[in-house]
């Protein structure tokens, strides 16, 4: 489930997390990069671009122009405007056919599957096409399927991107070939001195075999070729990564659910969270009352009942000491029940919140065991629901900091911006807060998500914790 918890390292892919700290480490990272498993997957993804460069509207168009040109003019001269028009109409029909039969969607899901499996891209499938009852007879999603047309747009963009991906593959192959030249030289060019040898072309990123490319004709020259190869291999991972990142961006934009559908999905998710949250809240409330005030009052009644018995029905009190002790216990029980109820009602809705978030946060800070530095500037009051969520976030984050961080200083900042409320709770403690461990932070993130808010965690191990909650001013 996509909770809006973000951590600064969350978007870094696996394997890329080891940040280079020193030049030596950076060099090691650069040298090791071509040999990681991730690199292999990205290379595979680039290779898989080849068929998509063929199955492409642009390729189809060129093919259609050539065919009409061949049919109408026997490929003489240049294709006439009429040829182009006919080819355009054919292409249009073909695209409509691809989209409406659902073939486009299948192509898209193929490409999406590759990106998910090989690049680790996070992209959901578009929602199923909505069809009018009249169109049910047609087996595919119909010609008005936005997702299908977006696949076509992706394929169009895939042509240049795919070519660059194949170019990235060339970096690898060319680099390897260059690197192997000294070996080949030793094996096959071991001619007696004086024999003239035709120079061997060396692959460079700028050309293949044409004029002006780099050629070598001597054994030392092959070492220069090998050096070029090594340089290309070192550069190759970054070329691959750059182009696959661009492709993944395109895939997320064009092969995903689309903005409106994504929004609907997010809203469905947050509605489910809201319903779950309120059910959980009621259950907790019942539990608190059942195990707290209710049982305290039952105990109190029992003590009073026993005291009443000790007092006797009339006249002299048979066991005054025991009766007194029981009444004392009952009194204590009544006070405890009152405290418990007060805590509970305050937990449901703190009365101070009626005066605004500024006062509520101040009273929260005053109650804290660890000193709290408070900085609040909220020019426009948010709606009560937002104030309540912000207050409970602050309360829970404060409690978390007090419980887990070993901090001796906490800062709460709340700033109202044009249409957002930014609340941050930071401490100078041990850090290492992780939403995956324990339910506190992820529960908080859920509650924030219900109103389209965002919870960000920055908690490096040993470096303090700062948790920021961004909420809209109104729901």
């Amino acid at each position: 489930m996509g909770l809006p918890v973000t951590t600064p390292t969350a978007d870094l892919p696996r394997g890329g997390r080891a940040r280079a700290r020193s030049p030596w480490a950076a060099a090691r990272l650069a040298v090791a990069a071509p040999f990681t498993r991730r690199e292999g997957r990205e290379l595979l993804f680039c290779l898989a671009a080849a068929p998509f460069a063929v199955v492409n509207p642009l390729t189809f168009f060129v093919l259609a122009v050539d065919l009409t040109w061949l049919a109408a003019d026997s490929a003489r001269g240049n294709p006439s405007p009429a040829d182009l028009a006919i080819a355009g109409i054919c292409l249009g029909l073909l695209l409509v056919l691809l989209v409406s039969t659902g073939a486009a969607r299948r192509l898209g899901s193929l490409q999406r599957g590759l990106a998910i499996r090989l690049l680790g891209a996070r992209v959901a499938a578009p929602p199923p096409a909505r069809r009018s009852p009249a169109a049910r007879a047609w087996p595919g999603p119909g010609p008005r399927d936005g997702a299908g047309w977006r696949v076509m747009a992706y394929l169009l963009a895939k042509l240049p991107v795919g070519l660059i991906e194949l170019y990235a593959v060339f970096f690898w192959i060319g680099g390897l070939v260059n690197l192997s030249y000294p070996l080949w030289w030793g094996a096959f060019r071991n001619h007696p001195p004086g024999a003239w040898l035709s120079p061997v072309p060396v692959f460079t990123p700028f050309g293949l075999f044409g004029e002006g490319t780099f050629r070598v004709a001597t054994l030392p020259g092959t070492f220069a070729a090998a050096a070029t190869g090594a340089a290309m291999l070192l550069a190759a991972p970054w070329v691959t990564r750059a182009v696959t990142s661009a492709d993944a961006w395109l895939i997320r934009g064009l092969l995903g659910p689309g903005r409106l559908a994504q929004r609907v999905r997010d809203l469905e998710l947050s509605r489910a969270l809201a319903v779950d949250d309120s059910a959980a809240l009621l259950r907790r409330l019942e539990r608190d009352l059942h195990d707290g005030a209710q049982i305290r009052l039952a105990t109190l009644a029992m003590n009073l009942g026993m005291a009443r018995e000790k007092l006797g029905d009339s006249g002299a009190v048979p066991d005054a000491a025991a009766a007194r002790e029981l009444v004392d216990a009952a009194l204590r029980g009544a006070k405890d029940a009152l405290v418990e109820l007060r805590t509970l009602t305050r937990g449901i809705h703190p009365p101070v919140l009626d005066n605004g978030l500024t006062d509520a946060l101040a009273s929260l800070a005053a109650d804290s065991v660890i000193p709290v530095e408070l900085e609040v500037s909220i020019p426009v009051r948010p709606t009560p629901a937002i104030e309540t969520i912000a207050y409970f976030c602050a309360a829970e984050l404060l409690a978390n900091a007090a419980k887990h961080s070993y901090a001796n200083e906490i800062a709460i900042r709340a700033a109202g911006q044009r249409d957002a409320l930014l609340l941050s709770v930071s401490d100078n403690g041990t850090g290492g807060a992780d939403p995956a461990r324990g339910t506190g932070l992820s529960g908080l993130a859920q509650r924030v998500a219900v109103v389209d808010g965002l919870l960000t965690i920055a908690s490096p191990s040993g470096g303090g914790t700062m948790i920021t909650v961004e909420l809209p001013l109104r729901v």
Partner: protein, 216 residues
């Protein structure tokens, strides 16, 4: 009458009060535990006359007390089971009695405040009788699908019926209504006659007959 009791209740203060109350009435509390598993172990160890168990206990806080009570009724038929709860659920009552009202009771926790009545109910269950909360009986009376049949009863008879369903003997009903035993006997005979229930002397079979009539 000296009764040996095992208590299962997770709220510490309530458990302590209950222990004191029961011991004040001259009974012996063999063990006071906090969850269903410990209750079963304590019953196996002490073989008490009666168990007082809270329905909702750790770890799940749902109905482990009731499940333990049913287990005890199956394994130790001679041990009476008095279940306490903060809610009245006729479903729970039905599960607890299930064809045999002997040595079973179901009371709201707050009934403990009427110390003498609670002690009386405890002793009744320990002796193989029945103790049902007036609230349970009231719910059954209200929910009874044959409520029409109750229309034939006089207000006094309906009151006697409710007390009978709680598990009281004729003497107990007479004490509660401040009348003589003979008067109660007359009412009971009239009730059985009007409802078409077989007259019977054993208290818990009486309860069962009433409950079956009300629950059907």
């Amino acid at each position: 009458m000296n009764v040996r009791v095992v208590i299962a209740e997770d709220a510490v203060l309530f458990r302590a009060g209950l222990t004191r109350l029961i011991e004040d009435h001259g009974h012996r509390v063999c063990a006071a535990v906090g969850d269903g598993g410990a209750l079963l172990a304590a019953v196996a160890e002490h073989q008490p006359d009666v168990v007082v168990a809270d329905i909702r206990m750790p770890p799940t806080h749902t109905d482990e007390g009731l499940r333990a009570a049913l287990e005890i009724r199956r394994q130790h038929p001679r041990t009476g089971v008095l279940v306490l709860s903060q809610y009245i659920e006729t479903k729970y009552t039905a599960r607890l009695l299930e064809g045999n009202a002997a040595g079973a009771g179901y009371l709201l926790k707050e009934r403990v405040a009427d110390v003498a009545e609670f002690a009386d109910a405890l002793e009744r269950v320990a002796a193989g009788g029945t103790a049902l909360d007036p609230e349970v009986v009231g719910q059954l009376l209200r929910a009874s699908r044959r409520a029409g049949g109750l229309a034939a009863l006089t207000a006094r008879e309906r009151h006697v019926l409710a007390l009978m369903a709680e598990g009281r003997s004729n003497a107990g009903i007479a004490a509660a209504l401040v009348v003589t035993g003979g008067t109660v006997e007359k009412h009971v005979a009239s009730i059985f006659d009007k409802l078409g229930l077989p007259p019977d002397e054993a208290d818990n079979r009486r309860v069962l007959a009433v409950l079956r009539y009300l629950g059907s």
